[in-house]
Symmetry: C2
Subunit: 353 residues, 2 copies
Amino acid sequence: MAATMHDVAKLAGVSIKTVSNVVNGYPYIRESTRARVLAAIEELDYQVNVAARNLRTGRTGIIALAVPELSLPYFAELADSVIQAADAQGLTVLIEQTGGQRERELEVLSGARRHLTDGLIFSPLALGPGDEDLLEVDFPMVILGERIFHSSVDHVTMHNVEAARAATRYLLELGRRRIAVVGVHPGEVVGSAGLRLKGYRQAMADAGLEVDESLLGEAGLWHRATGAQSMARLLDAGVRPDAVFALNDAMALGVLHELQVRGVRIPEEVAVIGFDAVDEGSYSNPSLTTVDPGREQIARTAVEMLAERVAGKGAPHEARRVYADFSIVVRGSTQADAAAHGRPGLAEGVRTA
Amino acid sequence: MAATMHDVAKLAGVSIKTVSNVVNGYPYIRESTRARVLAAIEELDYQVNVAARNLRTGRTGIIALAVPELSLPYFAELADSVIQAADAQGLTVLIEQTGGQRERELEVLSGARRHLTDGLIFSPLALGPGDEDLLEVDFPMVILGERIFHSSVDHVTMHNVEAARAATRYLLELGRRRIAVVGVHPGEVVGSAGLRLKGYRQAMADAGLEVDESLLGEAGLWHRATGAQSMARLLDAGVRPDAVFALNDAMALGVLHELQVRGVRIPEEVAVIGFDAVDEGSYSNPSLTTVDPGREQIARTAVEMLAERVAGKGAPHEARRVYADFSIVVRGSTQADAAAHGRPGLAEGVRTA
DNA sequence: TTGTATGCGTTATCAA
DNA sequence: TTGATAACGCATACAA
């Protein structure tokens, strides 16, 4: 059916190797030869057979991106950024949804699909401390986040502790004192939940304030629904915060919703801040103050690091750890006037780390 | 480095063919032989080389999904559903972002990446009438939406006209008369914009009402920002609607935002309905009444149809056209009491088509 | 029920 | 600057 290099070679009256050279931009080819080959390619509508090339070179040009789920806006936007960054490097992205399930995360590391790809950008949720050995993989990998560290694997992460501390400090500066936290994972130390809570505690300590543990609301999965539920439980338990730090934007939006259903005025009675800076937050009502963790930068850095690893296959460099910059985006959920001036994006205040 | 079938065969003391048979589940193998082979596979930690298999079989087990962009929640959720449906069929999904650009959409149809995949689920935005010939492709494809029709290609679409008509009728039944539309593409006939506007016009005609053209707000890309802008333009032009039909949820959320920035009460002064039923809409404030176009069903159907085509390669069946069911999800942006009872999802009304 | 031999379409090695 | 030829790892006639 489709034309092969052979066909092109025959038509152009050259050897198959010459066709290959032309296709791959090998420089030492007589202009007339190249022209003849290109004409033949054009005429036969020839396209390289990627499968054959893959077999021969051992590379596929595909990288995998493993995230919990695309229906969470943060990961959808992350995937968007990763795909664009990969495009810039001539790479294609295969997205794996793990659902945050341990089994599926393990499959990503060792499953058959692994062989379809040259490398992996992995955002784990279930794997954690104790699983370091599983990261001893023999293919290029970059890990997103701080759940697991292993000396031989590259990491790209955000300043979770610092950013959460800044977010909390910001609320304190607004005069808020009873700051609830939504999305806590009790006992966790290494994940986003643990680190962000740590930042919160630090900021409270910095201000000389005691942490009221009844203000900490649990939520396993960080969805809109769980944020709303966690907020509801706190309120039902009689807790009366004057601010809420939701550990991600999805939950923050759920919190906004729950508070408003109950007639609580935001930000007058309760100020709300989220984490992630998803686009959705600039259009909520009120618009959502949040921490911008540098998603773009994270995606770009991860892809570039991975591409380097893929290219330099053999060479075992030292593993690197990169932290993206963060900033606080002030909007209506913490300062009424920040949203009053018109369209979002215009009146927003940005406080850089 | 990695073990091959050869290695396994040698270790198990059988031929390479036998190993292949075991791996591919060929039934006529003596139990003892199979056991020996499996043991060898285990010992060598053998995994098939997908590239080689692809080359040999001409199949990759990958299907492509081409959408405008993942950061639009509808497409992120669609991708989520498609990936899950594909998993169920043992297929992997490669996502292409076209950005709605004609050039990139063409690339999806003919680019080199095409050869990485067995088929394509394509949601075009730029391609349209006049491009039918481009759909004369020689690989399995399923098209989402109604922008282009071609007799030889499968389509999975939603009841755009009918659903839009039902949405408008619903607003009319609420007693609204000056219903603005946001997201209009002037002159368009075949795309979602054209079809949904058509449904609107039909409903107005059904009710014996004249359409006030000044109520139609344009918006090229259907983002939150463009929805807000379109609404702002209408209001700035002095238009005073008592309801807004935003042609998708993203714009509806922008509309909600813009109205609230201007102090308009929803739904008392202006009722708002969207289209898509993205998760985000159940947590906005007020929660968003919308049309559920049957995303799950669309994804599942598309994957199944594509899988059939891929399997039945040669056999040229008749092209099919499938319409998903729709329903109207009533929430707070049109009926104040729909959102008042507590958590979203509980008090929602659902009107089925 | 199992083995042998051939080729899928490329790229890489080497020689010319 | 170009050509002949050998892999890459697997699946599949065909034979046994």
